[in-house]
Symmetry: C2
Subunit: 355 residues, 2 copies
C-alpha cells in the first residue's frame, strides 16, 4: 500500500463525525476537529488525526468528560487557573488561550494555567493563536506519559514536557518553536513503530544506557533529554510550571495514557501571552524580528548545508503544501481510521489522491 493524501475539509469532516458519534456536542466536535486537523496541516504528524483512534479509546472508556464545565478557578488581572473538568484538552486550551489573549490586551501580559485538562495536540497550536493578535505566545505542558528518568536514574518520573513559542514578524514567516525537552517526542517513536522503521541513535537508551533502536521495544528503555542533565532540568521546570503550579499531575502521578485508557489524567498546561505593545511598539518589534530572521537566513553556511531554517519555517512550508495537495497519511494509519469509521458507523475518510 502507498501513502494517500487527504484534503483539510475532509480531515475535519471525518474527525468531527467521529467526535459526534462519540457523543460530543456539535460545536465541541467542530472545535476539536479543526484543531486536530490544524495539527496535521502544520506537519505535526504525531499530534493530529494520528491520535484519533487512541482518543476514541479513552472516550469510549469514559475517561473524558463529554460535557465539561470548563471554568476559571482562580483569577487575577494578569493570571488565571482553569479547571478543565476533564474535558478534551483542545477545548480546555482554546478556552485558556482565548482568556489569556483577552487579559493581555489590557494587562500587557497574561499567564493562564490549566488543571484537569487532557492531551491537547501539538504545543505550537496554542502559542500560535497569539500571532493573529500581534502578540507573543509561550506554551508549556506536562506530557501524558513518563518516558524520561531523572539524569542517571531508571525510574520514569518525567515526561517529554514540551515548550512552544510563537513570535510575530512583519513580512517574514513568524518564528514558531515547538520542541519536546527530550531529543525525540514520544509521538515520533510511535510514528516510527507504526511505519515499521528503526529509530536513529540518540533518541532512546535501554536500562543499561545502551542505544535502543527498535521503536516496538520502546517500553524497554527511555527517551534521552536534550543536552543531557540540562534537558532533565528543563523538563522538570516545564513540568512544575505546567503541572505542579496548577495542581495538575506531575512526576509519579502522571497517567501513562498509552497503557491506561480509563483513568482521569489531570493534565496541566500553561499559556503565556505577551503584548509587545506594552514593552514598546509592535511595528518596531516586528521589524526587528524580520531583521533577525533575514540576518539568520543570510548567514554563511557549514559545508554541505543548503539552507538555514528558522524554527517554524519547515512547518509553514508543509502547511502551504498540505493546503494545496492534502495531508499524506501512512497506510497503517489509513487502515486504523477505516476500522474506526466502521466501529463508529461514520463515512470513511476519502482520499484526494494517491502519492
Amino acid at each position: 500500500m502507498t501513502h494517500s493524501r487527504f484534503k483539510l475539509p475532509e480531515l475535519e469532516r471525518f474527525i468531527q463525525d467521529a467526535m459526534l458519534a462519540l457523543g460530543f456536542p456539535k460545536n465541541d466536535s467542530r472545535t476539536i476537529a479543526q484543531l486536530m486537523a490544524q495539527a496535521d496541516l502544520q506537519g505535526s504528524d504525531g499530534h493530529g488525526i494520528f491520535r484519533l483512534a487512541p482518543y476514541a479509546k479513552r472516550i469510549k472508556a469514559g475517561a473524558i468528560n463529554l460535557r465539561p464545565q470548563i471554568k476559571v478557578l482562580k483569577e487575577k488581572p494578569a493570571m488565571a487557573l482553569i479547571d478543565g473538568d476533564n474535558g478534551m484538552g483542545h477545548l480546555v486550551m482554546k478556552f485558556a488561550t482565548e482568556l489569556a489573549i483577552q487579559k493581555a490586551k489590557t494587562t500587557g501580559l497574561a499567564w493562564v494555567g490549566t488543571q484537569y485538562s487532557n492531551h491537547a495536540g501539538p504545543a505550537s497550536l496554542y502559542a500560535k493563536m497569539a500571532l493573529e493578535h500581534d502578540m507573543l505566545g509561550l506554551y508549556f505542558a506536562v506530557g501524558n506519559a513518563n518516558h524520561l528518568p531523572p539524569w542517571g536514574g531508571l525510574d520514569m518520573l518525567l515526561s517529554t514536557n514540551p515548550i512552544a513559542a510563537a513570535i510575530p514578524a512583519l513580512d517574514e514567516t513568524p518564528i514558531v518553536l515547538d520542541m519536546a525537552t527530550t531529543v525525540a517526542a514520544y509521538g515520533k517513536v510511535k510514528a516510527k513503530a507504526q511505519n515499521g522503521e528503526m529509530m536513529p541513535h540518540g533518541w532512546m537508551v535501554d536500562q543499561k544506557g545502551q542505544p535502543l533502536l527498535d521503536p516496538k521495544q520502546s517500553d524497554q528503555g527511555f527517551l534521552l533529554p536534550i543536552g543531557g542533565y540540562k534537558g532533565y532540568g528543563l523538563s522538570m521546570i516545564v513540568g512544575i510550571l505546567a503541572g505542579t503550579l496548577n495542581g495538575a499531575a506531575m512526576g509519579r502521578n502522571v497517567i501513562d495514557f498509552n497503557k491506561d485508557a480509563s483513568s482521569v489524567t489531570n493534565t496541566g498546561q500553561a499559556i503565556v501571552i505577551i503584548d509587545p505593545d506594552a514593552f514598546g511598539d509592535i511595528q518596531e518589534f516586528k521589524k526587528q524580528t524580520d531583521r533577525l530572521i533575514q540576518d539568520i537566513k543570510a548567514s554563511r553556511k557549514m559545508p554541505g548545508v543548503e539552507r538555514i531554517w528558522l524554527p517554524g519555517e519547515q512547518s509553514h512550508l508543509k502547511k502551504l503544501d498540505h493546503l494545496k495537495n492534502g495531508v499524506a497519511l501512512s497506510p497503517a494509519l489509513i487502515e486504523q481510521l477505516a476500522l474506526l469509521a466502521q466501529e463508529l458507523s461514520i463515512a470513511p475518510l476519502l482520499a484526494a489522491q494517491e502519492v
Copy 2:
C-alpha cells in the same frame, strides 16, 4: 602555585574596594560586591570575582555608567520595562527583580524586562531572589558575546542566552536550574583557557564542524547548542524575550564584550516572578515540590551512578562548603587580582588558607 581559599567577607571587601576605586558610590559598590561574591559562593566560577578584571577594564574605558538613573520606562500592573541607563547589570537586575517581586505580591505574577543593562553575573542569582518570598523565579538573558551560529550556519548571530528557574520547596533544597542554551557556557571555556586545560568533545566545533578542543583557539570556532537545532531555536526565543522585546541588543547588534571593552552593550534581561498562592496554596505547592524531589532522589540508578542530583543541589552543597572553608581561586586568577589591586591601589585579596 596552588589554589587558595578566600572567605566570603574578604571577597566582598576586595570587590567593594575595587568598585569604590573605580568610582562607584559606596552603596552601589557594596551591592555589586555582594552579588558577585554570591556568585562565587554558589559555585558559579565563571561569573563572580573571575569577572572583576574584565569589568574593571570596561569601567575604566568609560563603557559603564557609574551614576545610572535606573528607571521604569513602561509599566502595567503585572509588567514593566526598565531602562538600566547603562549601569552595572547587577544593579539593574536587582532593581528589576525587586520590582517584579513587589508587583507579583498583588498581581500573582509579574514580568519585568531590561534594556541598557549590562552583564549581571549568573542567571540563577536573580531567579533565586524569588525564593525568600516563597515565589517562583524565571530569568532569561541575552549573552554578552555571540558564539553560536544558526543551526547549519557559520555567522555567529546568537549567544549562550541562559535560562534560570528557582522553585521553592518545604524541607528539601529548592530546585534551581541555571543553564546556557549551549552545551557549555562561554565562561567555562574562558575558565579552561585560564587554567590551561583542554575542553571535552561536544563543547565547540570549528568552521568545518570538526571538534575544537583547545580553549585558546576558541575564536576559531563556535559553541554547540543543546539538542542541536532545538537549542538553536531555544537560544533564539530566549534572546527575543530578553532582548528584542525589551528594545535591547539581539542578533548582530550584540557587542562582544570580550573583544570590545568600550561600546555600550545595551544588554537585555527578563525576570518573571510567580506567586504560587495565586494558583493555589503555597504550603501545598511546597509539599508537592518536596514529594517530587524525594521521588527523584529515590529513583533506581543506572549502573555506575552513585547519586541522583536535583538542579541546584550541587551548587547548594558548594555554598555550604564555601561558607565554611572559603572559595577556592586558581593561581592565574589570584595573580590577575593581585595586579588589579596594585593598579587600583587597594589592599590585596587575603587568602584564608592554601588548599
